[in-house]
Each structure stands twice: as C-alpha cells, then as structure tokens.
Symmetry: C2
Subunit: 342 residues, 2 copies
DNA sequence: GTGAAAGCGCTAACAA
DNA sequence: TTGTTAGCGCTTTCAC
C-alpha cells in the first residue's frame, strides 16, 4: 500500500491537483466550498504531502547541518552541540543530531540517514572501531558532503578537524600532579578505540617518563567512558588494597572521575587526603560535587562554535581546499580533589 | 548561484544524464573510460546529488522519527531518547533529535525542520510558553503527521501522551517526608512554564494540606531546571538563616538538587543532618553523589520506549483513533539525602 | 554502453 | 475560481 498522493485527493474531491495544491498552500484563490471539499478529502484519506517534493525540488530548502555524537549520556557532547547550534543559528542553519552510542555501525547509518535528509554538512565525533575503517567518511567525500571531525581518526585520515591537543593536555595535567609531589599515579583510561583516550594516555606516559616515573601495569585501568565504568573500576582497583596504592588517579573523563569518587567514598578512602583524583572535560557538574573536581577543561562550547563555523566555511569553498585543523586550548582547573603531598 | 545539477555534469562529461545517473549509482554497465570522464566532471563541478530527488520521490525512503527535547543539558532526556532509539530500531526507524532549549520559537522551528525532512512522526517534549499557543501542534495535526507528547499541554490539548502522574508522584514523595517527621518543607520549583513543575507543586501542596501543613511563601523558591539554578537558589535561600529554616527541601529535579547540595555544603549545612533534600528523575549521577540522593524515579527508558511504540502504532492507524494516554509508574528511591527526624 | 523519454509528487505559471 | 501543463533533479525503462 503506497502512500496517498495529491492525485488521489484530487480525484476524491473532484477537483484538479492544482486546486489541491492551492488548498495545501493556503492560497486565497480557492472558493470556500471547494476548499472544504478538498480538506474533507485530505482528512478522509489522511493525505500527507511529501515534503521533499513540495520543497519543490526547485527552491532552496531549509538549511541544516547534522551532528553525530558518541553518547547521549555524556554532558560533554551537550555543550558542544549547544555551541554548534549557536553558531549555526547565526548563519541560518538548524542542527539535527544523532548518536552512534559508540557503535560503529550506528555511525555509518547515521551518516546515511543525515545524507538522505540533504543536510548541507555534518559534524562528526567519530566512534572508531579497532580497524581503521573510514569508508563512510570516504563516502561522504565522494558525495561532496562537507564534514568536520571532533576527534582524530586512526591512520591520519585527512579531514578537517577541531580538537585540542590531548596529548599535551594530559601531559600538563600529569606534570601538575608530579609537581605537587605525586610519584605513583594511576590512570583510569577511556575506551580502547577512542583516539582521545589514546592521546591522553600518551601524554601521561610522557610526563611520567620525564620525571623518571612509570605507569605500572596495575595502575593502568581500562575503565571506559561512563559513570558506571568509573565506579566499577574504582571498586575493583581499590578494594582490599593496603597503603600500597597510588596517591593520585587521572581519569579519562569527568564521568569516570565521579564514579571513582563514589567508589573511594564507599571504600572509606578520602579525597584528596588519601587519594587525589583528576578528571577531564570540566563538565558542569564537576564544580558542584561535594569534592569539586580538579580537571582539564575542554573548550566545549568553543569546539561546537568553531566546528560549525569551519563546516559552514567549507561548504562555501571548493572542496579542494586542503583539510584544516583547528586546535583549541585546554585549561587546568584546580579544585579540591587534588592535594600537594607533604 | 544555484546548485550544480546532473545536467551540468552530463554536459561537462559529454554524456547523457542517464549515464551520469548510472555512474552515481555504481551501475556496472558503464564503460570504464566513460566512468572516469563522468567522475572527473563530478569532481571538478563538486556535484552533489539532491538526495530528496534521488530517493526517487518514488520509492519508500529511510524511515525516521524526530525527537524534540527541551534541554540538551539534562541527562533526563538522554535516557528517554536512548529508550526511543531502542524501540525505533526494532521497527526500522532512525531517531533524529533537535532541542528547543526551552524556547518556544525554537520548538516551532524544530517541528518545521523535522517535517521538512519528511520524518514519519515526532516525539515532543513540549516547551510551553505562558500562553497556550498550540498552533504548531495543530499544524502537525492538519498535516497528518503523527506525534506523541511527553508532557501535557495547557488547556487539555487533546494529543497522545506518555507521561507519569506527576501530581501523585510529588504527593507520594512529600508524604514520605511528612511521615519521617518533617513539618517544614520547602520546595525548589521548576520553570513556571513547565507543566511538570506545576503538577509537582500541586502534589506537594496536597500532601502538605492533608497533614495540616502549608507551603509558606518563603519556602516556595522558583529555582529553574538547571544545576546552576539549584546552586544559586540554594545560596540565596539558605545564606544567613538561623535555625529558622525548613528541615527538608523537595527539588523540582535532580539537577536542582545537586546544585542545592553544593550550596548547602558551602554554607556549612549538612545533608541530611541539618537539611533533608530530595530530587526528582533519578538521573544516573544521583546515586553516585557523596550523599546519594533520595529521589522520585522517572521511568525514562520506558518513557522513551513507550512513546516510540505508541508513535509507530499511531502511524499505522487511522488518525481518527482518539488520542491515547499512557501513564507510567514512578518509584520513590530512598537514599542518604533524607533522614527521619527525632 | 549509451541516450531518449517517461515519470516520481508536487508547485507555479498560465489559460480558460 | 479552476484546470492544464511544464518543470524541479533524479532514476529507470527501453530502444538504439
């Protein structure tokens, strides 16, 4: 049963399709009686015009950009989207979002869906699997749909990107911990397939190495990216350990840190007295915790704004313009969850 | 400068549009040499097919449903969307989201945008202004685009809706506080224009009245819906007050409660020793706080699933089927932020 | 292998 | 006031 078309409505109402069209578009040239009959036909057939056809296939349509995030649950993305919306609005674009929920297949589908909706461009926070499959991005390229990434891809896939220097940021954060006296620092790492996670780990290792320290195998905990992951990993890592434990833990992100904070609390370990904890991102809740979180702030709003700006700029440039990279600054935000060791 | 069309590509490549189409669609009937020429033309012109036209205007397209939330920042919505996605996926639908950020104008635009993308239906968490303007919903109705609400509208606008009984839930929560001995209970209310906020306030008042208590004017604080609102309102309400203060505060939602928790902490007031605090929603973070939050759980995942289910069902029914209301259950989750008074 | 032409659902002249 | 018709950008026969 295919969809009801304007022709059927016209037939039912005993008028021409032109008249039906006029009614749909609220033209005042239609006689009231006719209009009623047409409306009745529309109602009884439950006719719904195909917007793609109405938009005339011949006039500029509403401009929109797509946005693909990795997880609905992390407020990190919410801030970026809001930033993108603010900039998009100025240029007359709407932002429509989809989430891959960390699944590569979903990401591919989301790209297809967005493309099929004729968005003018897409901002993507890519969820990469282990294999460097970038076919969906190559596909976008081939279709001449501009896109901007918010996180690098394996194998130096050449694409425009707005990001921070995660390695340097993590390095700075770790240096700070070393400088205030920490020697044994653990890391609650992010998802293995996340570029940011890898970059941050690299930065930590470098900072440690510079001070003649190492990240012990037992102190590298593969936590994940969600609240629950931080909690679970925290309980596992710290339960039943004596004084033989790290004096500080760097977490992949704030969510992990919040989970860890809770785990430590339940285990009777105090923060920062017994353990210092750092996060990453500076999501809003970080400063409202009972123990406000020391964290590396990601310029989320700015990331959103800049990525939208860049995307829109590129929509207006020849696609041959080489990919552009915009690197934003992070800020170390010191709060109460870390302390100087005696 | 209008967009490049298939005709221009054909001209540039010296072939017919049929051939260009065949190349775009990867048909194997095209000679290699021709294909190369066409691809070169596509590249040099940066041709991007209009998907709306490709989708043939003549074949079923990807099925999608739109989702409009009020705030990107509240994890409450994230959980609902995830639920909706889970159900939508089963039925072969994709979910695309937009946020009104509490602005009525944005909501109207979002609806237009989604409709113009030919979504099959829309789930809306309506952001109502003071005036009961439902023209955008009437518009949807007129266009025979099915929709489901996640919150009531002023004036009993007849529409299918998935919601909880907020009045009863707030009533139950307040009763619990009264039963454990609280006599002076304050309320940090949500946005004035939120139906949920109003319903919850009603439930609180009823519970209070049943026990011969009242909500004093000074104890009704118009906080808002965000973290910052709870914090700010908390500082304002509790700074410099002596023992003359409420023994318990019910917050419109968990975000407000988290902000309040922080404010109380800064003011040196302990929770629950000095003040009991309750939230609403049971967002994930609620149980990971240093003082886990007593709250009324909203069945967010279920709300998402049921709303998607209902929407999809209605897409397949005559639109004349009367609106349906699905009321889900809430659960009181007692944690450490409330205590029994001696 | 390729081109010509019909047609997708609709809007917008233009006639009648 | 209404009907007819020519497109919109594309895909898909079906000849050549």
């Amino acid at each position: 049963m295919s969809r009801v078309t304007i022709r059927e409505v016209a037939a039912r109402a005993g008028v021409s399709i032109g008249t039906v069209s006029a009614v749909i578009n609220g033209k005042s040239t239609v006689k009231d009686a006719t209009r009623s009959r047409v409306k009745a036909a529309i109602d009884s057939l439950e006719y719904r015009p195909v917007e793609a056809a109405r938009r005339r296939l011949q006039t500029p349509r509403e401009k929109s950009i797509g946005f693909i995030i990795k997880e609905l649950h992390n407020p990190y993305y919410a801030d970026i989207i809001v930033g993108a919306q603010q900039t998009a609005e100025v240029h007359g674009f709407r932002v429509i979002c989809m989430s891959s929920e960390q699944r590569f297949e979903y990401e591919k589908e989301a790209i297809q869906t967005l493309a099929s909706k004729d968005v003018e461009g897409i901002i993507i926070n890519p969820a990469l699997g282990d294999d460097p499959d970038v076919s969906h991005l190559e596909d976008l390229r081939e279709r001449n749909i501009p896109f901007v990434l918010l996180e690098g891809m394996r194998g130096d896939f050449p694409a425009s990107i707005v990001d921070v220097d995660n390695e340097a940021a993590a390095h700075g954060l770790t240096r700070y911990l070393v400088e205030i006296g920490h020697r044994r620092i653990a890391h609650f790492a992010g998802p293995r397939v996340s570029m940011h996670a890898g970059e941050r780990l690299d930065g930590i290792r470098r900072a440690l190495a510079e001070s003649g320290l190492v990240l012990r195998a037992e102190d590298l905990v593969h936590a994940g990216a969600a609240l629950e992951d931080g909690y679970r990993a925290g309980i596992e890592r710290f339960a039943g350990r004596g004084p033989e434990r790290p004096t500080a833990v760097t977490c992949f992100n704030d969510l992990i840190a919040v989970g860890l904070l809770r785990a430590l609390h339940e285990l009777g370990l105090r923060v920062p007295e017994d353990v210092s904890v750092t996060g990453f991102d500076d999501i809003n809740v970080a400063r409202y915790l009972t123990v406000p979180l020391t964290t590396m702030r990601m310029p989320r709003n700015e990331m959103g704004r800049q990525s939208a700006e860049l995307l829109i700029r590129r929509m207006r440039q020849p696609i041959t313009v080489p990919p552009e990279r915009i690197t934003l600054e992070t800020d170390l935000v010191v709060r109460a969850s870390t302390r100087r060791l005696a």
